[in-house]
């Protein structure tokens, strides 16, 4: 029965720790302690007590609490033994000493001490059958009590002095048992308690305060004394086990406690709570914590033991924790102020995260209560984060983290702010400011205009990464990103205040053009996959930018021009990619925009059919078949408008084209076909001096100039005027063409006088020394880059389209509403035209005036401006 009962005492976390302490101390005490335990265990076979209840982590739990059941059980068992037969089990409870005063083994043992020590592991419970040995010798109970107590007291003294106990432990145990059976347990308990009390309050306390390390290591002194006392208490309990089990446990109350809590209580009162010790001891623990926080070396096992002790003595919540929290708050208050003001934000963030992490580890390591751990966390959050919030959320410093792409610090910052509130409420403003600043610096950097889109893509990617990684996909910040990105991309410029800044739209169109011309290799290196996959990926990326653009009309105008150029020059890298892009644009801008573009593709296909049809007719076979002819017929309305350039084509070529025209018009009645020589290009085979053969890829305008030199002798000059007559080109076109042939990278022609400019007085001849390692040389002057005029023209058309669309929108609105207030009309017009490119209010007013002039609507007189629709 015995061991199980003691397990029932373990009701709390603190108590569990206490038992560990006791058990560990048993081993140090050695043989005698163990032997008693074994001895007792051997007798406990019939115990079937209820299993211990699960411990609750509440520290304030009282030691003396006992479940009701255990009391009943012990009583029952006690009586069962008493009713047993004449077989005397030495190891179990004997019958009441007064009922049958048998000369007991233990009694004789006090008189004749055994020579040999008690043998442990003596096998099964030894049962000694005593027959006919009863010599009823009357022993006076008082005498017996005093005798036994003397032995017990001697044993206690030996335990206190750590010397050998002269009486066998078995005898001492039996003596205790007999006293208890004689109903003098209370008396025995009081004597035991007084004895321990005297020892602790006097000897032990004295030895603590006079020990060598008292001055500098109070914690160590107290903890060592505690450990020693624990061992001693374990021994005492073994000896007085019967007292503990049969009396103290069953009669436990406020004044009567089992041996162990009694011992702890004595230690608590006389040592730990002694006024000479308590403050010093607690301060000592605090110092250990502080040193640990300062990363100074400490005896951490001592600190662990101290905490365990405080816990076992039920002083954790009352004496330790409040002091610990107070001291921690002061410590981190100081630290927060110091670190926050003397470091950069990045350093402070690192410090905070380290402190939070280390403090949490510290709480684990010293087994502090989960509630303490929580309080400590709150203290750190308050002192390091909340109190330092102005520094932690300093806008300039956070912007700096963005600029430095300091993901690590931002991750920490987000995590810290997340502990104390909504991180986006602090991060949003610097985040948006950063996006706007960087974004604007990119779109306003005229010097690096050509890199604009690439830089915007990189920016977008980096911003997305910020949201994804440090901000853990925060919805508010992701939304901010899109808002701010759209804001800077659509900001108005100073020069063209009537329009949105159209640069991004224009540059995005150019970038798409570059990609579709096969420039993807440079655009998205590092993306896996074949060329088509990479191209598709790059297009998808740039479309992401495109979605932010409000003035889609500018993009559309440039896209159309660029597509036309790609188709005319046969510069598309991939038909699939073109189609793919068309589908995407259709989704983004609607079919209204792509209709013309689809028309352009359709023209290419029809032209291909038409040329193969032509090559099957007699008109083709009659002509010079050594010239490979291809004709692209455009439906005028679908394509951008191009300037008409009159030029004289060599007779033979002109006839060839004429025969195509006849076939075409025969097939498509009612149509007129006009040549667009300025958009045409050709390949000439050229034979230079010393038999050097080259192929020249030229515009038709360049070709007609070069063809003139076939009719003059080698090295002979043609004057500017002669060339002008021979080609029929106007000055503007001729100067451009001659510049491209005589002053550019490849100089097929030589100008007689040096200089970059072409003058009407210049003379030209073939450059006899022309050479180049490449066989096919592209001198094509149909610019791959558009001219300034073309660009201006595109912008002007966009502006005109906008005015037209604005008028259409105003008319639509007025037709539906009939009568509207000025401000409402303006707002509704803005709403309707936003996706295409919004006009300024003054510009909308201008369009209203025009519609009034055209009698579509009228202004009504009155205090407020109203408009009336006129049908």
């Amino acid at each position: 029965m015995p061991e199980k009962v003691s397990e029932q005492e373990t009701q709390s976390l603190g108590k569990k720790r206490k038992q560990q302490t006791l058990q560990s101390s048993q081993s140090s005490q050695g043989l005698s302690q163990r032997s008693i335990t074994d001895f007792l265990e051997n007798s406990s076979q019939d115990s079937n007590l209820p299993s211990p209840q699960p411990g609750s982590p509440k520290r304030s739990r009282k030691n003396s609490e006992q479940p009701e059941t255990s009391k009943n059980m012990s009583t029952q068992q006690h009586w069962r033994h008493i009713n047993e037969s004449d077989i005397i089990d030495l190891t179990s409870s004997p019958p009441d000493i007064r009922a049958s005063p048998i000369p007991n083994v233990s009694v004789t043992a006090t008189k004749y001490p055994r020579p040999a020590p008690f043998q442990p592991h003596a096998g099964a419970p030894r049962k000694l059958h005593i027959k006919n040995l009863r010599k009823p010798s009357k022993v006076d109970p008082d005498v017996y009590f005093n005798q036994t107590w003397n032995s017990l007291e001697a044993a206690l003294t030996a335990i206190f002095e750590s010397s050998k106990i002269s009486t066998s432990l078995e005898e001492l145990y039996r003596g205790t048992e007999n006293i208890c059976r004689a109903d003098r347990a209370g008396e025995l308990y009081n004597k035991l308690k007084a004895c321990c009390d005297a020892y602790i309050s006097d000897r032990l306390k004295h030895s603590i305060m006079t020990s060598g390390s008292w001055k500098d290591d109070v914690v160590k002194c107290v903890v060592s004394a505690w450990e020693k006392w624990n061992d001693q208490l374990g021994m005492i309990r073994s000896i007085f086990l019967y007292l503990d089990r049969s009396y103290l446990l069953t009669n436990a109350g406020p004044k009567l406690q089992p041996i162990e809590p009694t011992g702890l209580d004595i230690f608590r009162r006389h040592i730990v709570l002694a006024k000479e010790i308590e403050t010093k001891f607690m301060n000592g623990i605090m110092t250990l914590f502080e040193r640990d926080r300062q990363q100074l070396p400490i005896n951490s096992s001592l600190l662990s033991s101290a905490i365990r002790m405080v816990d076992s003595l039920d002083l954790y919540t009352s004496n330790f924790e409040p002091r610990f929290l107070l001291m921690s708050r002061e410590y981190y208050d100081r630290l927060g102020v110091l670190e926050a003001t003397s470091n950069s934000l990045a350093e402070y963030l690192d410090e905070c995260s380290q402190q939070l992490y280390k403090e949490s580890l510290r709480c684990e390591r010293y087994h502090l209560d989960p509630l303490t751990k929580r309080s400590i966390r709150l203290i750190l959050e308050e002192t390091l984060l909340i109190n330092q919030l102005p520094i932690l959320t300093d806008q300039r410093s956070i912007e700096e983290l963005f600029q430095k792409q300091d993901h690590k610090s931002l991750t920490i910052l987000y995590g810290l702010l997340d502990r104390i509130g909504e991180p986006s409420s602090h991060l949003r403003s610097p985040w948006e400011k950063y996006i706007l600043e960087v974004g604007r610096s990119i779109i306003e950097d005229e010097g690096r205009e050509n890199e604009m889109v690439q830089r915007l893509l990189e920016l977008k990617d980096s911003l997305d990464t910020f949201v994804r990684v440090p901000f853990k996909g925060d919805d508010t910040l992701a939304y901010s990103l899109r808002e701010s990105f759209g804001t800077f991309l659509n900001s108005r410029t100073k020069e063209r205040s009537e329009m949105l800044n159209s640069k991004p739209a224009e540059m995005i169109a150019k970038y798409v053009d570059m990609l579709l011309k096969g420039g993807a290799r440079g655009a998205s290196t590092g993306t896996p996959g074949d060329e088509d996959t990479r191209l598709a990926h790059s297009l998808e990326q740039v479309l992401d930018l495109f979605r932010f653009i409000q003035g889609k009309d500018v993009f559309e105008a440039f896209y159309k021009r660029d597509l036309a150029r790609r188709l005319l020059m046969d510069r598309s890298a991939s038909r699939d990619a073109e189609r793919n892009m068309l589908t995407k644009l259709k989704n983004e801008c609607g079919s209204g925009f792509t209709q013309n573009l689809e028309s352009m593709f359709k023209d290419i296909e029809i032209s291909r059919d038409a040329i193969s049809h032509f090559k099957n007719t007699r008109n083709y076979t009659e002509n010079a078949r050594d010239i490979d002819l291809n004709v692209l017929v455009l439906s005028q309305s679908a394509w951008p408008t191009y300037e008409e350039v009159p030029v004289i084509i060599p007779v033979k070529m002109a006839q060839y084209l004429e025969s195509y025209k006849n076939v075409y018009c025969e097939k498509h009645s009612g149509r007129k076909l006009m040549w667009r020589h300025a958009l045409s290009h050709c390949i000439l085979r050229a034979r230079f001096a010393q038999g050097v053969n080259r192929e020249l890829v030229l515009s038709v305008l360049q070709a007609v100039v070069l063809l003139l030199f076939n009719d003059v002798g080698a090295g002979a000059y043609l004057s500017y005027r002669q060339i002008k007559e021979g080609t029929g080109l106007d000055d503007k076109q001729l100067i451009r063409t001659l510049q491209s042939l005589a002053c550019a990278k490849y100089r097929v022609l030589q100008k007689k006088t040096k200089g970059k400019d072409i003058l009407p007085t210049d003379n030209f001849r073939v450059n006899q020394n022309f050479s180049d390692p490449k066989f096919r040389i592209k001198i094509n002057q149909i610019q791959l880059k558009e001219t300034k005029e073309e660009k201006e023209e595109t912008f002007e058309r966009v502006a005109m389209d906008r005015q037209y669309e604005t008028q259409a929108a105003i008319t639509r609105i007025m037709k539906a509403r009939k009568k509207l207030r000025h401000n409402d009309l303006i707002q509704m017009t803005i709403d309707q035209t936003k996706s295409r490119g919004t006009l300024d209010v003054p510009e909308i007013k201008k369009q209203i005036e025009r519609l009034i002039d055209k009698d579509y609507m009228e202004r009504l007189s009155g205090p407020e401006v109203w408009y009336q629709y006129l049908s």
């Binding site: 689809e598 010239i627 490979d628 004709v631 075409y664 498509h668 076909l673 045409s680 050709c682 230079f688």
Partner: protein, 86 residues
């Protein structure tokens, strides 16, 4: 140096052989463009020239002729609408 044409990539544009800026008398759209129901100018949406000299999108005039009120007359000159056979 002598040069010889090897390949010629000509570009041309077509328009209906009607006076420039002429619009379809029915839908008022330039002939370069399509009738309201079509997307692509050209073969997909051809012109029809009446014997009276008035031209229309084929689709436009078809719709017109099929209405009761047209009585088979040209909407411009109210003569019987007949077209020039191809």
């Amino acid at each position: 140096m002598k040069v010889k044409i090897k390949k010629w990539n000509a570009v041309a544009s077509w328009r209906w052989d009607v006076p420039e800026d002429d619009v379809c008398g029915i839908c008022r759209v330039q002939f370069d463009g399509t009738c309201p129901n079509c997307r692509f100018p050209g073969d997909d949406c051809p012109l029809l020239v009446g014997k009276c000299g008035h031209s229309f999108h084929l689709h436009c005039v078809n719709d017109w002729i099929q209405t009761e009120s047209s009585r088979g007359l040209c909407p411009m000159c109210r003569q019987k609408f007949e077209f020039v056979a191809e």
